[in-house]
């Protein structure tokens, strides 16, 4: 059953076209492939998202710059602010402020409250279309 399904799916696979940078105006939307139409709509609606690994590097740098701490504290990508880095509530607020400056958007207090690790910061920023 699974085998037949696999073969069927292979036959039904849709060809993916690269999203045209400058769609020809006289063709309008109908000149684009189905996938391209979907992406154009969703980008218009959601804005664009930053790449996660780029966000991670930038977040790690923000935290490193803020670190009041000994070189022995390694800021790893899964570091937890309190239990790994020994940061307190004032430090965490400073980090949020640094992230706001770095990524150019305001992080509301109730969201900021939940950000207490590098990965939570990355997830939050990477899912925010306003992040630059």
């Amino acid at each position: 059953m699974a085998g037949a399904r696999g073969i069927l799916l292979k036959h039904l696979r849709v060809k993916v076209q690269a999203f045209p940078q400058n769609p020809k105006p006289n063709n309008g939307l109908f000149g684009l492939s189905f996938n391209a139409i979907l992406r154009q709509f969703s980008e218009a609606v959601r804005g664009s998202f930053l790449d996660k690994s780029e966000v991670t590097d930038r977040v790690v740098n923000c935290v490193k710059n803020l670190q009041k701490v000994e070189a022995s504290k390694q800021v790893t990508t899964n570091a937890h602010f309190q239990s790994d880095l020994g940061l307190d509530s004032l430090d965490t607020v400073e980090i949020v402020m640094a992230l706001e400056e770095e990524f150019g958007f305001e992080i509301p207090d109730n969201e900021a409250d939940k950000i207490n690790s590098i990965s939570l910061a990355v997830d939050f920023i990477a899912s925010h279309p306003q992040a630059k």
Binding site: K73, S83, G86, S89, L90, E94, M97, A98, D109
Partner: protein, 314 residues
């Protein structure tokens, strides 16, 4: 230093010959804690530990033994000796402090259970026994790497926050205050010409605001810092931007300078007024402790200086 803790509470350190001489004092049961009377309704007790003064590895090992498994795991979940020691001392201070009050005849810190309220604020979970009415004991704890403090009252909600006087922020103070504090507080800080004094005022404000939110016990997002102003001109008071819910004259504050190196902010639910709406000063008893080793009454000495709020030290 603390890495041996993993071994030592599994096979007691006093069994190990290399620790025998060090642990001579602690090879038997720990000496009893100095019992203390519960604070009266008008009193606040402040207890604190200076981590740098607690160096004995066997003693730290004994502290670890006071904790239930879940709390030990929590301590060991911190990365590195310093953070683990700080976390251990925080749990030890809470347990030993509350145990001293010998509620219902109990003096064993091990037997205490804790729970969190719906907002996450820690509370004692007293045993429910026939005829036993638990005291309305309130406590709150705060720590930095260089100080661990616990405040205790009967009945009054309490929040405390400690901070090193010389704490520096990475961000510019005014930029930080504009983002997180209220306009009045920004104005207050802006008016301070000396940058060193401005830094200190900032830290004082921060600790007072933290203490208030911790006293409320509803979590930080329920009272963002820019929704209430701490006014510290004559006496210290809090003013919320939207008053209906919290009657702001419900809260009293004290700001102390501890050992010349730390600010301690205490926020208490006001219990009684002295008639005609006048507030009675906070009656404070402060003790420095190394649990099971020494306790020192420090209120009224140079170690504890009142720098804000109305406080009488006993």
């Amino acid at each position: 230093m603390l890495s041996f803790l993993r071994r030592s509470y599994l096979n007691f350190s006093f069994m190990n010959p290399q620790y025998c001489c060090l642990s001579r004092n602690f090879s038997a049961a720990l000496p009893p804690l100095l019992p203390v009377q519960l604070p009266s309704r008008m009193e606040t007790h402040l207890w604190y530990v200076v981590p740098d003064e607690v160096k004995s590895a066997p003693l730290l090992s004994k502290y670890m033994e006071l904790l239930p498994q879940s709390e030990r795991d929590h301590v060991l979940g911190f990365r590195g000796d310093q953070l683990q020691k700080s976390a251990l001392l925080a749990r030890t201070l809470v347990r030993t402090t509350i145990a001293r009050y010998q509620v219902d005849g109990h003096l064993d810190p091990r037997s205490l259970r804790f729970k969190r309220n719906i907002h996450g604020k820690p509370e004692v979970e007293w045993e429910t026994k026939d005829g036993f009415c638990p005291p309305p004991l309130q406590f709150n704890i705060s720590h930095t790497s260089s100080l661990v403090a616990c405040g205790v009252t009967i009945n009054s909600l309490i929040g405390i926050d400690v901070e090193e006087k010389r704490r520096r922020t990475k961000n510019n103070i005014l930029a930080f205050a504009k983002r997180y504090f209220t306009a009045h507080e920004v104005e207050h800080l802006n008016a301070i010409p000396d940058s060193e004094l401005q830094q200190q005022e900032f830290i004082k404000l921060w600790t007072l605001k933290e203490a208030y939110v911790k006293a409320l016990g509803k979590g930080f997002s329920s009272s963002p810092f820019n929704t209430f102003t701490i006014r510290a001109s004559s006496g210290i008071a809090v003013e919320t931007l939207d008053s209906p819910q919290n009657l702001t004259n419900n809260w009293q504050f004290a700001l102390l300078e501890l050992m010349g190196s730390h600010y301690v902010a205490i926020c208490l639910e006001r219990q009684e007024t002295g008639g005609a709406g006048k507030t009675l000063p906070i009656k404070l008893t402060a003790r420095k402790t190394i649990p099971f080793v020494e306790d020192e009454l420090v209120s009224g000495t140079n170690a504890v200086v009142t720098i804000g709020g109305s406080v009488t030290q006993f």
